[in-house]
Symmetry: D2
Subunit: 362 residues, 4 copies
């Protein structure tokens, strides 16, 4: 259990890092949505390894096949199953892992929970699992686009070095301009250098991704437990390596007074009601208010490093781990499309939930 | 929809701030758990208004009645319904609210979503709704106690002023020693003074609550979407006024290298496998690892302030809001039992989910 | 677990037969539906004991109170909690039950499952639990009425004696014309006599309830597991004493050839596509086809009889049960509103699920 | 939505009849269950077309591939994805179907619901969809076997001709002894002749499948909505062509008095409490009582017949349908493994749900 997400737009992912294949089933996508593999493959290409020297060199084309739910370029309203077969599985790299628990990985906890695990590549705990999410998220983004909703995420901070990005104007094209996916072209070289240094040191580095969803109408989100920010927080924290999440003013807002923090309402030029500031991050009382939805997500440094580390084996005996193989010195560039996908899954689900509410015409 | 939480230990809350009553139904509590109203009422008393001059002066005894699911002091395994009738409902205080949207409240978004709302006291958007959660959380804490799991939360920061608390030794008794629920007795007076000042200014102040869950065994949490930290993040972000959440190293961890951040495994004196540091916050790969589970939760300053604010009415006309009535200058003291309750709901649910997994004996 | 029903129109019932109270929470009812207690109380009055000499003489007014979710006669879109307090609880009647398992009751299985049970009145296993369903079903019927959907159920057979009722024209008024709720006025006296005889004999009798839902548009039902007939079958079989259910031609249809059984399509005078026969019972491939939805539901004879029966006590020792107290010689008259309520809960849920699907305008 | 089934042992099927492929994801299977493709393929072979002259001659090997969740012959506790690629897809047979709605098929209702459909082979409405259920059910049966639970279903009636089968002793081997899957060797030839006649006539025939689950311990089933018989009824009615279901005495029980119908308790020789009769069909109050669970399931005659039929096209114009292609004159032989699979899915799910309840040791 735990491999499904969403209530009406519901995805179920499957697959281990080095098993035969992985993928996702999307149940609940409305019928007659134009869909082919191109936009899905494009997002998978942004997530796959081997894109640049900043990320893991595993060679995986991550070629997606749609098995069901689409006919003549339109969704049928039936489950959409998508499969990616695994190819570059160097299981021998993981022989040592079988004998020693990798620090801050899920080797120990999977053993504690299941009493068994697929060792090679981290099995189900591998970030490779997120390929299914990205494929599903691409569909969600197609659906949201029919209502004018768009999502952009970017690398905003690496190892404590912060970029400066105008969230209101940043585009996905500007994000993809460099390998780091940091749209601040002035600061990017320094941040990239920071990642390079970690890679050369056999070390790793963390950072912060920011994201914005534009065009979300007022009214999405289901109080009281399925508040929009609550489901977004869950979505973000379910991404491997995420240790923190903020909506709107986040932790910085805790240091303000109410008179400074409150977002005053006014009538926009277009007649709609808006707020003069957006410390609420687009959500009030669990419901979108029509302003852009803003998130900050904290990624810890990658647990895999190319340095010897003290650890234990499954019997508790001391061991020294000397990793071999490929590693991502910084997961953030590849995490950008994952963040966007998970935001899209939350929004698509809440869009449908709110649509159902309109059963009694006003 | 959205008023239920949990898969196997599942709670459903109901009730508006100024309606006839509110409460909760707990479905899935195992049978034969010793239970009476005392521990439930004790937690409700920690949450209710009017406890001290730091919080709202609304007079609500919040007396709970158990309607079902308990017989002769033991749970039956059937749904436990608990009801609290509302008493001190000064609806006249809210007449102005009917005409103007309160900034950073949910008045506007509820109208946008539902096309109708119970205006007095914020209706369903009132933090009063959390009484049901606290009642349910008290049962979850009774259940967790049978496995040696305990939870402590405390006020760690107010308006940027930080306390210094040893998370490994802090107790609930130490937390409740003052009205602020800040167990750092040296720093507490200064923090309390900060809240007092906000109250006198007709303003409000935010802050940070920290929490720890001790005794959670390795193995709880359901990858990949229902990771333990993901469900905890959702639980925290579903609490009114929360804008951020961290597990373990959180945002600070993003500024460390992997070689600094990784938690090295070792064999404890008791033979179990532990980690020398706990930057993972007790969770690795979505599953508890046997270390204490740690959280930091950001609360924005209370939206209700006793100062005039510019706003609009439902038609978009400019208005000035001059609030009357009672207000919480700082929600954190009353939020401490809510945080504990929500953590307990997550852990009780995951305890049962992991227990189900043991169907095939090892 | 197991006390909730529905996906978008979701009800959770609670309460034991002789505990403090029972009721239901309805989550997901759309906002702005006109609602007061009158139609709810009317349905509860049709279900309550003591209506006539044909049913149990327990004195329960079953007075419902709405605690939340309704304001000024309109639903708020928030959870609607309804509570009925228990009054006439003669626990002493059940002293013997504590010592011996009643045949074909749930005493033994509740002990086997929970290791504890509320003995008086059958606790949670009492048909008294269905009061919450009937209250929720009354709301669902209000919702369905906004789309022209209506439901009628009636007693069609008692102890093998069959009535003859035209399903296309029967009305609820015609059903309620006698105590048995059998609208065949010619046959009813004989059927009532059959129930009377069972009562005098200290025995009980079963029968068949038929039901029809009119006005359901084509398109409701969610293949492949949540087919409309599948959810209806579950709803019916969840009613105490039900042992069988049929949709459309049911078991009789198994004896026909395909060329006899198929429902031929034609264009109706109003332009819509209809079928010349309705052996499909209004559902094809799990989806309503616009024809009336028809069901037959088998109720076993009431397990409680006023005769001595051989049984065992919880330790397995032989015992003779000599029941005292009140009994329903035939549950069918009171089951009619329960059947209607459960059909309404299924249809309301599927109405909302199908409405959500229309997110992309055709 | 509607393509998933189960709470803790949860399956999600996908796939259209003539799309690229179909399959199922099983989430929640406990870890360390011995599993390979052999028992899964064996069940699929019992369901596939082309087994005998009694069923459709479509040539589909239905070769299953496990993509995830199994490693070295043991389940991992992670999702098990299984895929079957489609091969024999004669789309041209369905050209006429595009123009006219087939009577008693789901062509019209899919159009009404989704506004689009995959025409060839019935798309998602094809019984081919059940291949995923059978694959998942094979895993559920492996799981149940670890607790001594076994399931047998058989063809008990065809076109009104009834076999005579002792439910307490019938085995799966005895069922598979002939093409009809009717273990009454005396009656089977006559029933087979009845199917043959329908095939020769270009017509079809319905019938009744009976099923028994042995070894289910007392205590499975979740009152009040997820009663064991309720979930079984839903499972059965979700199978294509099913129009009725009975548990235990079913409709026949409605003609008995309570004194005849009640199952008297006694102490078995092995010390357990049993019942002298089993009119309850192994379930009382929604919970298994340790007796065999018995079901009767009504299958309507196959809608596809090789005779001209009056119908309409999507615009409502009159049309005559002259089917071509392959047809099953009687679906029952192939439905036997589907019935067994669906029963297994219900029981596996309830086994885990009851296991979770044992969190507090007695």
């Amino acid at each position: 259990m735990g491999n499904s997400f969403g209530t009406l737009f519901r995805v179920t992912t499957f697959g281990e890092s080095h098993g035969p294949g992985l993928g996702v089933v999307v149940d609940g996508c409305p019928p007659r949505l134009p869909l082919d593999t191109a936009p899905i493959q494009r997002e998978l290409d942004r997530r796959r390894p081997g894109q640049s020297r900043l990320v893991s060199q595993r060679k995986e084309p991550d070629q997606v096949a749609i098995l069901s739910g689409v006919h003549d370029g339109l969704t049928l309203g039936t489950p959409i199953a998508m499969v990616i077969m695994n190819q570059d599985a160097r299981s021998k790299d993981y022989e040592e892992v079988a004998r020693a628990y990798r620090p801050s990985h899920a080797d120990f906890t999977y053993d504690a929970k299941y009493g068994i695990r697929a060792i090679a590549g981290g099995g189900r705990a591998s970030a490779r699992e997120t390929a299914g999410r990205v494929a599903a998220g691409a569909i969600a983004q197609q659906l949201l686009a029919t209502r004018g909703v768009s999502i952009v995420a970017w690398v905003d901070e690496v190892g404590g070095l912060a970029a400066s990005v105008d969230e209101l104007t940043v585009t996905r094209e500007a994000v993809d301009v460099n390998d780091l996916r940091c749209p601040d072209t002035a600061a990017a070289p320094q941040l990239i250098e920071r990642v390079e240094r970690a890679r050369k040191d056999g070390d790793s580095i963390g950072g912060v991704i920011r994201a914005i969803a534009r065009g979300v109408p007022a009214g999405w989100g289901e109080p009281v437990f399925d508040k929009l920010e609550a489901d977004l927080a869950k979505a973000m924290m379910s991404i491997p390596a995420v240790k923190g999440v903020e909506n709107g003013s986040g932790f910085a807002g805790t240091r303000m007074s109410g008179s400074e923090h409150n977002d005053l309402f006014y009538r926009r030029d277009d007649g709609r009601i808006g707020t003069r500031t957006n410390r609420s991050g687009g959500i009030q009382g669990g419901i979108s208010n029509g302003e852009p939805i803003t998130l900050r997500i904290a990624f810890k440094p990658t647990a895999t490093i190319m340095r010897p580390q003290d650890t234990v084996d499954p019997e508790g005996n001391s061991a020294v781990l000397q990793p071999k193989g490929r590693h991502d010195p910084c997961v953030l560039p590849r995490a950008v499309p994952i963040v966007e996908a998970m935001i899209a899954l939350v929004l698509a689900d809440h869009a449908l939930r709110q649509h159902a509410r309109g059963f009694i015409a006003p």
